[in-house]
Symmetry: C2
Subunit: 429 residues, 2 copies
């Protein structure tokens, strides 16, 4: 048997395995449609208990992944995301309990009305069906995303990064234990049997069985998924987020707000990456703000005018304006009024979160109306771009597209609806 034949047989058997996963998920989704809220919440709480009960097994599985990753010489940031601890397991467990405590997103009457024809019409929330989640080697996403799918009555196929295969498997075992305890099919939450990277390609073509793909990760992953998928994708793109200090910005608010937006946590998608400052107020606002940022450990890159105001600012080049640093770096540019700020954001923004700092209601209204982003803010730190901070409970991420859901994606956003129509035998004239 040639190597080629072996490879192609492996490919076939993987394709078959993925078909089976899809079929099982579809059938589990049907069971979830008729499950009760109590059952779904019980499954979530039982899964939380199982995570705590099996924490040693989970940590042992994680050590296997960590050893293999270290042996491959993986970068430290990668290892940080991969590593589990008792504390991280507890965060996953309490996360699932928090999801269980959220209001039921299903069976809600979203609207109800009567027509002159005698039709009584109700729009009612229902699950989407089967969701494919594709994410990097962050094993905790298995619990977070799996929990949200279950809460919203969806079956899920969870495909985490290959390097987290053992850890994710141990966590998935706990989720499935929760499902069984609540008498729900454990195929409601599944994953490919092997860490084979080709599984992703197969998953993206299972359009007979999967209703939605949610990729969660860096730009490369999202782009690959959007390009290859035959299934609708709810993309969570990067956040090239701006703070714009308008002429009517309150100096007392500007500095703490921008420092918080940039520096509170630099690695999250809601962090600010570019500061735009109205030329009229630059000389007043910018020097104290830049020195506070630098004191907080932030590298500053700016255009020539900004450099003239502060000689320690490094020159920014064209690429800087389009970069999501996810790091303690801020690009700074002066603009001539609101229109120029809007034009800069339209050109370089990623449609995630944009903020104007101003005390002038009219300028704020214009900014909020005209900036095309999921979240537009006045006098508010962009770091608030988060489902929890919006009061929506847990979230899978911030969707930057405009279809289906935009902004934080929690359990509510993972639902669809149907129309229920009743009458006393109405026929259409």
């Amino acid at each position: 048997m040639t190597a080629e034949t072996v490879r192609s047989m492996t490919g076939d058997s993987l394709a078959e395995d993925m078909q089976t996963l899809g079929r099982q998920a579809r059938s589990a989704a049907q069971a979830l449609t008729i499950s009760s809220e109590a059952q779904r919440n019980q499954a979530l709480r039982e899964a939380a208990s199982a995570l705590r009960r099996n924490s040693e097994d989970i940590l042992a599985a994680n050590r296997q992944d960590m050893d293999q990753a270290r042996a491959r010489g993986t970068a430290k940031a990668f290892l940080d995301r991969l590593e589990l601890s008792e504390a991280r397991i507890e965060t996953m467990a309490s996360g699932l309990e928090n999801i269980a405590a959220l209001p039921d997103p299903l069976g809600r009457t979203l609207a109800a009305w009567e027509q002159p024809s005698g039709l009584r019409i109700e729009r009612r929330s229902v699950p989407l069906g089967v969701i494919g989640i594709i994410y990097e080697s962050r094993p905790n996403v298995t619990a977070d995303a799996g929990g949200l799918c279950l809460k919203s009555g969806n079956a899920a196929i969870l495909r985490g990064g290959s390097e987290s295969h053992h850890s994710s498997g141990a966590i998935l075992d706990c989720l499935q234990a929760g499902l069984k305890a609540a008498e729900l099919p454990d195929s409601a939450l599944q994953r490919p049997a092997t860490p084979d990277r080709e599984a992703v390609g197969h998953l993206l073509r299972l359009n007979t069985y999967i209703d939605l793909i949610v990729p969660r990760g860096g730009r490369g992953l999202i782009e690959r998924v959007s390009e290859e998928s035959r299934i609708p994708v709810l993309a969570h793109l990067e956040g090239v987020n701006h703070c714009y200090l308008h002429t009517a910005a309150d100096p007392a608010k500007s500095t703490p707000l921008v420092v918080n937006a940039k520096m509170r946590r630099t690695g999250i998608c809601g962090a600010a990456e570019t500061l735009l400052v109205d030329r009229q107020v630059a000389q007043t606002l910018l020097p104290p703000l830049l020195s506070e940022l630098r004191a907080a450990g932030c590298e500053l890159r700016g255009d020539e005018e900004v450099q003239a105001l502060d000689s320690a600012v490094i020159p920014a080049d064209e690429a800087d304006w389009a970069t999501e640093y996810l790091d303690a770096i801020l690009s700074v540019r002066l603009v001539d009024g609101l229109e120029e700020a809007l034009a800069h954001i339209a050109r370089y923004g990623s449609g995630h979160t944009e903020c104007i700092v101003t005390e002038e209601a009219e300028a704020a209204d214009t900014f909020l109306a005209r900036v095309d982003a999921a979240i537009v803010m006045q006098n508010t730190s962009t770091q608030f771009a988060d489902g929890g901070e919006f009061g929506m409970g847990a979230e899978i991420g911030i969707a930057t597209g405009k279809l289906h859901a935009r902004g934080p994606v929690g359990a509510d956003q993972l639902t669809s609806y149907k129309y229920l129509v009743r009458s006393a035998g109405a026929t259409r004239p």
Copy 2:
């Protein structure tokens, strides 16, 4: 120059033209974002006037299309859809006026709340951006779909069937006259310059400029678009719709309801295609119903039991259960109770509109909850599956997917939303 070179040059220039269309549409969409409700409604009303004023030019353009189509020996049903008349032009014009009279789908506060952190959050409806509409040679869709896109503040690229090129162009001229009269960019509604079929392929790859593709037409068109598109698709699939006569069906309602559901108009996607009858009530309900259907001109195809009840019933084969006849044909099958009806619908239904005829509330609730379709009905003719009948005004069609919008797609469904967040300088702890 070889034929090959000429072809490839044409292809390049078409690709370039489509890029230009996309760029112009994107820029028009930005202008629409800041347009007022009054402007958009004025454009719709002026377009209606232009249609009436230019009806002779439109009819002349339509005669060109009709002559060419006849010369190619096109089928009568196709010609019927292609042909315009004074009455059809008036229907388009008053359709646009009706859309103008609908409530504004934009700038609506969908939800508003305050967080303990001091954030005041509002979810507000906004346009999607640029919509690509792909449809067959029905020139009236140019006005209907264009009008809905404009109402909802979206730019649109309208690509109708090649055979309707002259008619659609004459109608688009009127829409653009309306835009100009309202001081809106006429590139808000555009179409490819030539009837070249390859334009569709290019359109489906313009993901930089187009946010949503709405295909409107038969199965072949929808499947091609779903397969090829690099842009999210809001698909309107066929309606393999069922009426299920439950044991507790009211005989006085059953016959008029099923006759209406099948025969009122057989060519619309809300028409019933299959009748399921509970075995327990078949002998009572079916004979009078079948003879009324036959009297109304309906061909009947059934399983052996149905044939035994009525010797004029033709045998149905497996393909019948999955067929959208769009014609005066009904397939009929007996089932053993609600579960078997649900299983049949899960297997053969297309997720469009499904109806149970019963006086028993529990059976109805089970049916409405468990059938996975955009519209589920009790004691109501499936022919009511229509945006107008739902009180939503005009519609592009009935979406059968679960993402973004499900069921009738009108102006409201062609919107997205954004979050507006205000605070007094809140920073995240």
